[in-house]
C-alpha cells in the first residue's frame, strides 16, 4: 500500500510558541486516520497546514509522492484535499447547487452563462450519493445543520478529493445524521479515499479509524492501529497522565430549600408547561436531544428570551418578566452555550472580561467611577481561584487563551457577581479532558457552598457523573425526572426519545447528539 500524504518534520510556531513540533505522519489511500488530542494540542494547526490555511515554518509534505505546498486553500482543493470544517462553510444565501459549484460553474455559450441544467443534474447525482433527498435549488439557509454537512461532503465528492479532512463533524448533527455520516465515510473509504477524522468523541474515533494519531503540546505522541488502543489509553496519552476518574467525587448532597422554581412556563411552539424546582446545594441536570427545547428553556429562565405565560420564583420572590439585568440582580448566572458569540469580548483583556457583570459594584460616587485597583484585585483573585492559566490578566486578550481557559473566564465573570444560582449551558463543550475535570470540580464546589447549579448538556455521561437529579426534556416538555439512584443511561435516553426511536439507542449515540 502506498502512502497518499506524507508529512515530514512539520513545525509551526506562532510567536515563539510552537503549535506543531516536528510532526511526521503518513496516510494511505483507503485508510481512515483518527486524530485526537486536547484543545490546543495542535490538531487544528496540523490539518490547517495540510489544507493550505496556514503555512508551516519548516518541514515539507508530499501528496501522491509529489511535493505538496499549498499556498492558499484553493491549492489544496486543486490537489485533491477537501477540508470539512467544524463550522460549516456554505453560503446561506445561495442554493445547494450553487454552493457546490461556486468556484467553478459549468458554463455554456458565448456569454459563458451558468449551465443551470447541467449543475442541476450533477448536483442531483451528488446529493443522491450522500443520501440527501432535497431539490438542488433549495437555499442553504432553509436546510438543517446536518443536511448542510452532507452538502459539504457532496462538494468534496464533486472536487474528486483523494483526501478528506473532517474536523469535529458531528458536533451539530443529530444521531440519525451522525449514523448517515459514518455510513458515507465507510463508503468513501471503500472507494479508496483517505480520511482524517478529528473528534473529541473517542468512541467514534475508535470505531471509525484504522490508525489513531494522538497529539499533545504540538507533538505527535503516538500513532497506533485503532485496535491496539483503548479509550482509557487514548485519554492518558492525550493528557500525559492517566485519569482514572473523569468526574470528581461529589462532596456534599443537596438540601431541600428551594432556590429557583419555574411554574408552568410556556411559549407557543417552543416549550409547554414547564415546572421544576432547583434547590440549594443541588446540581440539577437538564438532558434532551437536539431541538428538545433545553437551551431555549434556559434562556427564558435567565431572561435572554421571552416566555408567554408562567412565572419564576427566585428565593421566594416572584419574577414575571425576567431580563438579564433582573436575573443578575437576583443572583442568577448564565454561562451560554457559545462562548464566542455570547460569552466573551474576545479582543478585550481578561480582567475587563471578568469584571463585566460586576462593573456597577466597583462604581464609586454619582459619576460611576470605577475603583480600578479593587476591580483588578477581585478579577485576579477570581482568576486564581479557578486556576486560570494566563499571562498578565490586564494585558492578555481573551482570544489568545485556549478553549478551556476561555470557559474559565466566562465562569469567573459570573463568580465575581457572587450568584446563588448557576445556569450552565453546555459548560464543557469543545474543551479538553483536563479542563473538563477542572470545570466539574468548580461545579462541585459551587454546590458545596450552597449554590444551585442547573447544567444543560447533551452528554448524558457528564450529567450522570455530576448531577443529583436529571430532568429530561423532549419536544419542549419535561418528560421524565430521575434521581441519583435511578440514573441509568438507557432509561434516561428512552425518556428523551419518548421510546419511539429505540433501535438507535446506545450510550454512544446519546453522546453524539448535540445541537
Amino acid at each position: 500500500m502506498t502512502s497518499l500524504l506524507e508529512l515530514h518534520n512539520l513545525t509551526k510556531a506562532f510567536f515563539g510558541i510552537a503549535a506543531v513540533k516536528d510532526v511526521s505522519l503518513s496516510i494511505n489511500a483507503g485508510e481512515t486516520l483518527g486524530l485526537i488530542g486536547q484543545n490546543g494540542a495542535g490538531k487544528s494547526t496540523l490539518v490547517n497546514i495540510v489544507g493550505g490555511v496556514v503555512h508551516s515554518d519548516s518541514g515539507h509534505m508530499t501528496l501522491s509522492e509529489q511535493p505538496y505546498t499549498p499556498r492558499i486553500p484553493a491549492d489544496a482543493q486543486h490537489a485533491g484535499v477537501a477540508f470539512i470544517h467544524q463550522e460549516l462553510n456554505l453560503f446561506t444565501n445561495l442554493t445547494i447547487a450553487e454552493n457546490i459549484f461556486i468556484s467553478n460553474f459549468p458554463r455554456m455559450g458565448v456569454l459563458r452563462t451558468i449551465d443551470r441544467a447541467k449543475i442541476k443534474a450533477l448536483t442531483g447525482e451528488l446529493l443522491a450519493s450522500v443520501g440527501l433527498d432535497i431539490p438542488s435549488d433549495t437555499y442553504v439557509e432553509r436546510i438543517s445543520p446536518g443536511e448542510r454537512q452532507l452538502v459539504e461532503i457532496a462538494k468534496a465528492l464533486y472536487q474528486d478529493a483523494s483526501l478528506i479532512i473532517f474536523d469535529e463533524p458531528t458536533t451539530s448533527l443529530t444521531a440519525r445524521e451522525t449514523e448517515r455520516l459514518f455510513a458515507i465515510m465507510g463508503q468513501l473509504r471503500a472507494q479508496g479515499k483517505a480520511i482524517v477524522y478529528i473528534s473529541h468523541i473517542l468512541g467514534d474515533v475508535q470505531k471509525l479509524s484504522d490508525q489513531i494519531a494522538v497529539m499533545r503540546d504540538g507533538e505527535l505522541v503516538a500513532c497506533e492501529p485503532a485496535s491496539a488502543l483503548t479509550i482509557k489509553r487514548m485519554i492518558s496519552l492525550m493528557v500525559g497522565r492517566s485519569i482514572e476518574q473523569l468526574y470528581p467525587k461529589r462532596t456534599t448532597s443537596p438540601t431541600t430549600d428551594p432556590l429557583l422554581t419555574a411554574k408552568n412556563i410556556s411559549a407557543s411552539g417552543i416549550v409547554e408547561d414547564i415546572s421544576f424546582t432547583l434547590h440549594k446545594g443541588e446540581v440539577l441536570g437538564l438532558f434532551g436531544l437536539m431541538g428538545s427545547g433545553r437551551t431555549e428553556l434556559a434562556r427564558m429562565i435567565f431572561g435572554a428570551d421571552q416566555f408567554e405565560s408562567g412565572e419564576i420564583v427566585v428565593e421566594g420572590e416572584l419574577v414575571r418578566k425576567p431580563s438579564p439585568r433582573s436575573s443578575i440582580h437576583n443572583k442568577i448566572a448564565f454561562v451560554t452555550e457559545n462562548r464566542r458569540e455570547e460569552g466573551l469580548l474576545m479582543s478585550i483583556d481578561i480582567a475587563n472580561n471578568i469584571s463585566l457583570v460586576s462593573l456597577p459594584e466597583f462604581a464609586r460616587s454619582m459619576l460611576q467611577v470605577i475603583d480600578q485597583r479593587q476591580m483588578f484585585d477581585s478579577a485576579r483573585e477570581t482568576a486564581n481561584t479557578l486556576q486560570l492559566k494566563s499571562g498578565d490578566i490586564r494585558q492578555q486578550p481573551v482570544k489568545s487563551l485556549s478553549g478551556g481557559n476561555q470557559q474559565k473566564v466566562v465562569i469567573a465573570k459570573w463568580l465575581l457577581s457572587r450568584p446563588s444560582i448557576f445556569i450552565m449551558d453546555e459548560p464543557t463543550r469543545g474543551i479538553d479532558v483536563g479542563a473538563k475535570y477542572e470545570i466539574y470540580t468548580i461545579i462541585d464546589r459551587l454546590a458545596a457552598e450552597g449554590s444551585g447549579v442547573l447544567i444543560i448538556s447533551s452528554e448524558l455521561e457528564e450529567l450522570i457523573g455530576m448531577c443529583d437529579r436529571i430532568l429530561v426534556m423532549s419536544r419542549g416538555e419535561i418528560y421524565g425526572e430521575f434521581t441519583r439512584e435511578q440514573f441509568q443511561d438507557e432509561r434516561i435516553l428512552r425518556a428523551a426519545f419518548r421510546e419511539q426511536d429505540l433501535p438507535m439507542m446506545s450510550v454512544h449515540d446519546g453522546q453524539a447528539k448535540r445541537d
Binding site: 486553500p73 461556486i102 460553474f105 439557509e141 432553509r142 407557543s268 411552539g269 431541538g291 419542549g476
Partner: protein, 355 residues
Amino acid sequence: MQKQPFNVFRFFLNNSTIFLFIAVFIIFGLSSPRTAIGDTGIDFPRFWLPENILNIIKQAAVFAGIIGVGMTFVLLTAGIDLSVGSNMYLSVVCAGLLMRSSGLEIVPALFVSLLVGTLYGAFNAFCIVRLKIIPFMTTLATLVVGRGLGTALTSSQQIDFPERMNAFGQTMVFGVIPMPIVVFVLVVLAAWFILTQTQFGRQVYAVGNDIDVAKKAGINTDRNLAMVYIISGFCAGLAGFVLASQLGGRVDRSFGETREFDAIAAAVLGGTSLFGGVGNVFGTVIGAMLIQMVGIGLQFNLVNLYLQPMARAFIIFLAIFFDSLREANYKKLKRRFIRPVHSASSEARAADAGD
C-alpha cells in the same frame, strides 16, 4: 420548509417598498392639479399623465438609477462606494473639456466619460483590494480627491457643453422613448444578467455572505471585490454623461453632489442589505423611482423647495423602518419551532425534533 399560512401583515411587510410606491403614486396623483384630456372633458390628474410617468422614470434613471445599479453590486459584497457623485463629476468634466477643446463627437466623448469613471472605480478597487483600506475610508477620501481634481481642471468654472450634447440628451429612441430610459433599461438588464446568470454574479453574492468562507471555497475574492468597484465606477461615468445631457449640457461644480446617498437609498429601499449578500437590481429600480416620484410629486403639489429634502428624508426613513420590521419578522420566522403550535393549522406544524 413548511408552508406558512397567508398573513396580510407579513405580505405587506415583505413588499413594503412596492406598497409605499403605490401609496405615494396614488396620493400624489389625487392631490396633483388636474388637466382636461383632449376634448373628452374628463379632468385627469397631471401627475398620472404618461409624459409625467415617463419623466419620473427618466429622472430616476439619471439621478439615482444607473449609479444605484452600480451601488447594488458594491453593497452586495458588504462594501460601500461614497465616491460615485464625485466620479460622475470628474468623468463628465473630462469628457466635456475634450469636447470643447478638441471638438470630440458625442460617442467618443461618452467613451472618455466611461473610461474615466472606470479608472476612478479601478483606483478605489486598488486601494481596497491591494492596500486593504476599508471601503468607507477609501471612497470617502476619493470622494474629496475626485471633486478636488474636477474643480481644479475646470478652475471651478461651469462647463458648457456644445449644443450637440443637448441634442443627444433629447434623443428619442423609436421616436417615443427618451434616451436615458433606454440606457437605464439596458444597464438594469445587463446587471440582472451578470448577477444571476454568470459565475461572477453568484460569487458576488457568496463574497457578501461570508468573505472568509468565499476564500476557503477557492473564490478569487480580490478579483470579485475589485470588479464591483470598477462596475460602480463605470456606472458613475455613464450616469454622469447622461445626466449632463439632460441638464442642457451645463455642468457646474456641484454636479453630482450627494448623488451617492440617493444611490444607496435607492438600493436599500429596493431591499438590498447594507450587510451584504442580499438584494437585486429590480428592487433598486423601484427604489430609485420611488425617490424621484416623491421629488416630482412634491413639485407638483407646489411644496416649498426647502421642504423637499425633508420629505425625501422621511420617505427613506419609512423604507429603512419597514426594512427593519421585515428583518425582525424574518428572524421570528426563522425561529425553530420544536413542538406543534396549538392554534395553528397542521400546515404550520413544525418538523419534529430530528429535523
